[in-house]
Each structure stands twice: as C-alpha cells, then as structure tokens.
C-alpha cells in the first residue's frame, strides 16, 4: 500500500491510544479488540484511497490534532444550541459526556426504552446483542473500526411495537474553548414493527481549538415501521467530523432522512441504507451550504436487496468562498431486487471561482426489471433570474438570497415535521442572509 510515513504514524498513534483505553474485562471487549486489529490492519484512509480521495482524513487529522490532551469537561451552556419550540425527548452530550441536567425524557418507557449502550450490553439485552455492530460494517472502513473499538458513550433507543413517539433529539456538542477535543460515540436505534419515530442528531460546537468526532449510528427499522432521521450540522469552523448512519430496513418499512450541513471545517457523512425486504420506501434529502474553506463530503449508499422497493434521493448544495462539496451516491440493485424503483439527483451551485464540487453517481444494477435514474447538475447563480428580480427594484443582495433560498427551499419543502421545518427554515434563511 502506498501510505506515506506521516499517515501511518497517525494511524498507529490512534491505535496505541485505543489500546491504552481498552478495558479487557467489560462486556463487548472482544468485539472492541477485533475492531482494533482491523483498524490496525486497514489504517486511516490514505490520500489515494478511492472512497476518501476528496477527503484526506488521515492527513487532516495528522496535521491538526495532537490526540494528547485529555477530554475536558465543558462549562458551555448548551441553551443556544437547543430547539426550544420542539416537543421532544432531549438528550445532550457535551464533549462526549452525557449531560443529565440538560437532558429531558418525556416519552414513557412503554413507548421508548432509553438506556446507555454500555448498560444494555452489560445486561445482555437480546435486542442489543442481535443488532449492535451487526449493521455498521467495521471490517471495511477504518473509521468505523476505530469507532467500534473505542466508543465511550452511546445510547440504545428502543421504540416498542406499534408506538407513535415524540421525536428524540440528541445534541452532540463539542466545546473546544479549553483545548483540543476528540470524541468517539455510538448509538443504536431499533424501531419495532408498526412504530413511527423521529431521531434528530444535532451537531454544534464552540471554541477555537480543533475538535473531532467519530460518530456511528445504527438504525433498525422493522416491518411496517417508519423512521425519520435528521442530521443538523451547524458547527464552527474548527470542527472535523466523521459520521456513519447505517439503516437496516425490513418489509414495508419507511425511512426519510434529512441531512443539513450548514457549517464546519471537515464533514464526512456516510449514510447507508440496506433495504432487506419488500415494499420498502426510502427517501433521502440533503442540503449543504458551504463557505470559507469548509469541506463537506456526503457518501450515500442505497442497497436494494429484495424486490418491489422504492428509493429516492435528492441532495443539493451551494458552495461559496473556497469551500468544497463532495457527493457520491451509490445505488445497488441486487439480482433478487426486481421491480425496484430507484432515483437519485444531485444539484449544485458554485458561487465563486474557487469553490468546487465533485459529484459522482454510481449505479450498479444486477436485476433486469427495474426503473432507475440519476442526474447531477452544477451551475452558477442563475443570472437571468437575478436580472429579472433586479429590474423589479430588488437589490442585488436580496435577489441573490431569494434565488438561493428558492434553490434550498426544495429540500425544506420535504420536511414533514412542522416545528422542525420552521426551525430549519430559520437556520437556512439566516445562513443565506435572507431578510425579506
């Protein structure tokens, strides 16, 4: 393998850290050990690694992190990151530590069982044993292997059968005021048959030191269940993050995912849906609004394993400043997945000469009776629309905000939760300097 000295250094440095913290007599420690060995073997993706060619994560971590400072307790007040109008179960993590005083569970245990993942593993919860680390494949991706070996806090969320629950919002706050922060966290959400739930993962940060999070969420959506998943990333310019969200869907389940990336230094989102049943419907929406020198890399995979399912994906991005957007959308239609409908679109606007986007649809279809399509476009601000608006007396700045907001609006329109829609609309409006 063509790995530079620096990059292999950072991988072995991280491996040593994981090893140092690895407690060998806790539940699940054999899995952690296995994952560590895989991490050591894989190493962080080198510059030439195909799946990470636009996001040189090893180099960025090597350059910007010491991995030496202890994880500090934060004194930050998370109030400004919360969504006040949202009636939801609120769970707050600050620098990877559960913040009891800021968390609030409103759903009864008869609807949602919420426990720490470590406790659930220790109690040999059969649902956890059945699903934990069974869906997020740590054998192929070093970052997932790292997560599986080294996660320190996490939740097990179990939606019981035939329940319609209030949303669950998990805040992942990083406070790097006192220095570098690195967190490794993990969730498992299991939605039992016939239930409907909404999980929101919100990422915010403060502080001038660099901070990195490696976060993996596995979601199991059983027969006739529905899961809505939101990822809201509005960090400051020193946040580096890796996220894997792995869905496992069974017959007649429905999943809607919404990814909003509004800020951050380096964001890598892996969103993977495995459709292991018939009659499944999956929708994936994404909006990334980047400026300065942000890098946001969305890698999505939809894997149709069985017949008669439907997936639809729409990701849109606006790149300003020196920012860089990456979209890679894989659709697999396996031999048994006849009558699959799978659609994908990625649309981008580049606002400056220095902003870039790399977009790559990747369809691999082994079945013959399917309907699949993909399309990607990249353009500049619509000058014709700008001129039209300005000839009506609208200022250049307002016209620009209107055109961009309209572009982003197509994603917001698909948000089906009214309070969240309102909140996201505000975030996007603010971000696009919309003041009309």
């Amino acid at each position: 393998m063509n790995v530079s000295v620096n990059e292999s250094n950072i991988s072995s440095e991280i491996a040593q850290l994981i090893e140092k913290d690895l407690v060998l007599d806790i539940p699940g420690s054999s899995l952690r050990k296995e994952a560590l060995e895989i991490f050591k073997r894989l190493g962080l993706p080198a510059n030439k690694a195909e799946e990470y060619k636009d996001t040189p994560i090893a180099r960025l971590l090597q350059k910007n992190f010491s991995f030496q400072s202890p994880s500090v307790r934060s004194t930050a007040d998370p109030a400004s990151f919360l969504i006040p109008s949202l009636e939801a179960n609120v769970i707050v993590f600050i620098n990877g530590h559960y913040s009891k005083e800021n968390s609030r569970i409103i759903s009864p245990d008869s609807e949602i069982a919420i426990s720490s993942l470590a406790d659930a593993l220790a109690a040999d919860d059969p649902v956890v044993l059945k699903h934990f680390a069974k869906h997020a494949d740590f054998k192929v991706d070093a970052l997932t292997a790292w997560n599986t070996a080294a996660w320190n806090e996490g939740l097990f969320l179990h939606i019981r059968k035939n329940q319609v629950t209030k949303p669950i919002i998990i805040h992942h706050i990083q406070d790097a005021v006192a220095g570098e922060v690195v967190t490794v966290s993990r969730n498992l959400l299991v939605v039992d048959g016939g239930s409907k739930t909404t999980l929101i993962e919100k990422f915010d940060s403060c502080g001038q030191a660099n901070h990195f999070s490696n976060h993996v969420t596995e979601v199991v959506v059983a027969e006739n269940a529905e899961a809505n998943f939101y990822s809201i990333q509005n960090d400051n310019g020193n946040r580096y993050q890796y996220n894997l969200t792995q869905f496992y869907q069974l017959n007649n389940s429905r999943v809607n995912t919404y990814s909003f990336t509004l800020n951050g230094k380096m964001i890598r989102n892996n969103l993977q849906l495995l459709l292991d049943g018939e009659g499944i419907e999956s929708h994936m929406f994404g909006l990334y609004l980047l400026d300065k020198d942000s890098l946001a890399d969305n890698h999505t995979v939809v894997d149709h394993r069985k017949a008669n399912s439907f997936s639809n994906e729409l990701y849109k991005g606006i790149m300003d400043g020196n920012s860089k957007g990456v979209f890679n959308g894989k659709i697999y239609v396996r031999p048994n997945a006849q009558k699959t409908n799978a659609f994908q679109a990625n649309r981008n606007i580049l606002l400056t000469d220095k902003a870039t986007v790399n977009t790559k649809p990747q369809l691999e279809i082994w079945a013959d009776d399917v309907k699949c399509s993909h399309g990607c476009t990249t353009g500049q601000l619509d000058e014709e629309a700008m001129f039209y608006l300005r000839t009506r007396g609208i200022s250049k700045d307002t016209a620009r905000a209107m055109v961009l907001y309209a572009f982003a609006g197509e994603i917001l329109d698909n948000v089906n939760h009214p309070e969240l829609k309102h909140y996201l609309d505000q975030l996007v409006s603010e971000r696009l300097h919309k003041n009309f």
């Binding site: 000839t391 007396g393 609208i394 250049k396 307002t398 016209a399 907001y405 309209a406 197509e410 009309f436």
Partner: protein
C-alpha cells in the same frame, strides 16, 4: 423624460446598436418596430441595464440622470420598467413574496413606508383585476408553469403594482391570442397617463391597434431609420419591411 443620443452597444464582440437617437416625453407612447435582428430587444435590454451588453458609445439620460451608470434595481426604483419578452421562471419564489419584496424596496427608495400585509393584499387584488389575472397564480412560483398569456399578464400586473414612469414593453404581444392581447393592451391603456412614458417594442402592427402610439420608429441595423405617426405602422403592416431596406439601399 428619456433622451437617447447616439447609443451604440455590443454583445460578445458583435455590434448590435449602431447609433440610436430617441426622445420620449412624459405622456407619450412610442412604438419601436423593425425586422428580426434589428436590435429592438437589445435596445430594451440596454435601457433596463442588462449587464451582458457593453455600451460602446452614446448617452442615455432619464429624468436628468445618467441611466447607463445605474444598476438595474436603481433604474427600476427611479421608475424604469421592462416587461420581458420571455418572463423568467423562478421556481421556489412565490409571486406574492416576490411582488411584496419588490414593491417595498421601491417604496423605501421613494421615502414611503413599506406596505403591511393587509394593504398589500388589497392593492394586489385591485391591480390583478386590471389584467384579469387569476388569484391562484399568486401563491405559485413566479412564472413557473404559467401559460404564455399568464406570463404576459403577470408582466403588466407587475407594471401596475410598481407604477413606473417609463415602461418598456418588449414584444409583449408575442405568443398571445387575440383575447389575451386585448386584456394586456387594456391593462396598459389604463396605466397610461400624462406623466408616464411608454415604449412599445413590437414586430407586428397588431398590438398597435389596441395601444395607439403617438410615434412609430423603425429600427434597422441598430439605428432608427424612419420615424412617423401611427400611419407608419399601418404602412409597414401593408408593405412589410423590404421597402424600407430598399429605400435605405437607394439613399
């Protein structure tokens, strides 16, 4: 109110306007006719401030100001309105929000208070009647999926809302059936008054049956080669443009 002197403009290195002279006074309606490619739409675009065109010579004075130095929105705020030949579809921007934003930015420029929601809606309803525009269009995205007639009515509706001093109608009759043409022309006529000027750019005489011009100019190869009254339009309709070309060739 508008004085154009020796206006020359090019786009992509190609000279389109080669020296236009025109004076429009308050209360007058001027028709600009001419064969395809003569520069009619370019003239309309340059007056509205389209940035792709490079003005290489000449002056345009509007109400005492140098129009060519002004941004498109400044021209609009001072009272220039261009009704587009091809109104632009803007998905995601509702007609009502667009109109409210435009009107209030213009009002603020004119030193007026922005309209509140109630007064704004009242004004909209009133002006929509003028062009018999369906209210359901208001909540739809601007011009998106509008028929040709609806788009042109929407242009005149916007004109009614913004109360310009100088309106430039660029081929407003193109793509309209006779009923839509009458509605649009009727709307324009109701907005005509002693203090406003109108420039009607058209290929055919048909629109001028309904919007009666005070002056008719023929634009050919980027300049005005003949001017007259409404009878000139009838003559053009009867004889086509070739006789003008012949006349010029002889001269």
């Amino acid at each position: 109110m508008l004085t154009i002197k020796n206006l020359q403009a090019k786009i992509d290195g190609k000279q389109i306007l080669t020296g236009v002279n025109l004076e429009v006074k308050a209360g007058e309606v001027h028709a600009i006719m001419g064969p395809n490619g003569s520069g009619k739409s370019t003239l309309a675009s340059v007056l509205a401030g389209r940035e792709e065109y490079e003005v290489t010579e000449g002056q345009v004075e509007f109400l005492g100001k140098n129009l060519l130095e002004m941004a498109p929105e400044e021209r609009a705020r001072d009272g220039v309105f261009l009704a587009f030949q091809y109104p632009v579809e803007i998905p995601g921007v509702s007609t009502i929000n667009f109109m409210k934003t435009a009107l209030n930015q213009i009002r603020v420029h004119r030193g007026q208070q922005p309209l509140d929601a109630v007064s704004f809606l009242k004004l909209m309803k009133e002006k929509m009647k003028l062009v018999e525009m369906d209210q359901s269009l208001l909540n739809r995205s601007l011009n998106e999926g509008f028929s040709g007639g609806e788009k042109k009515r929407n242009e005149i509706f916007q004109m009614a809302m913004l109360e310009p001093k100088l309106s430039i109608l660029d081929e407003t009759d193109s793509g309209l059936d006779i009923d839509a043409l009458k509605i649009v022309a009727n709307g324009v006529n109701k907005l005509r008054n002693k203090s406003n000027g109108v420039i009607v750019v058209t290929h055919y005489q048909r629109l001028l049956d309904y919007i009666i011009p005070d002056f008719v100019h023929v634009l050919y190869r980027g300049r005005i080669v003949k001017s007259g009254t409404k009878e000139l339009a009838l003559e053009l309709e009867a004889k086509g443009y070739d006789w003008i070309k012949d006349e010029l060739a002889l001269a």
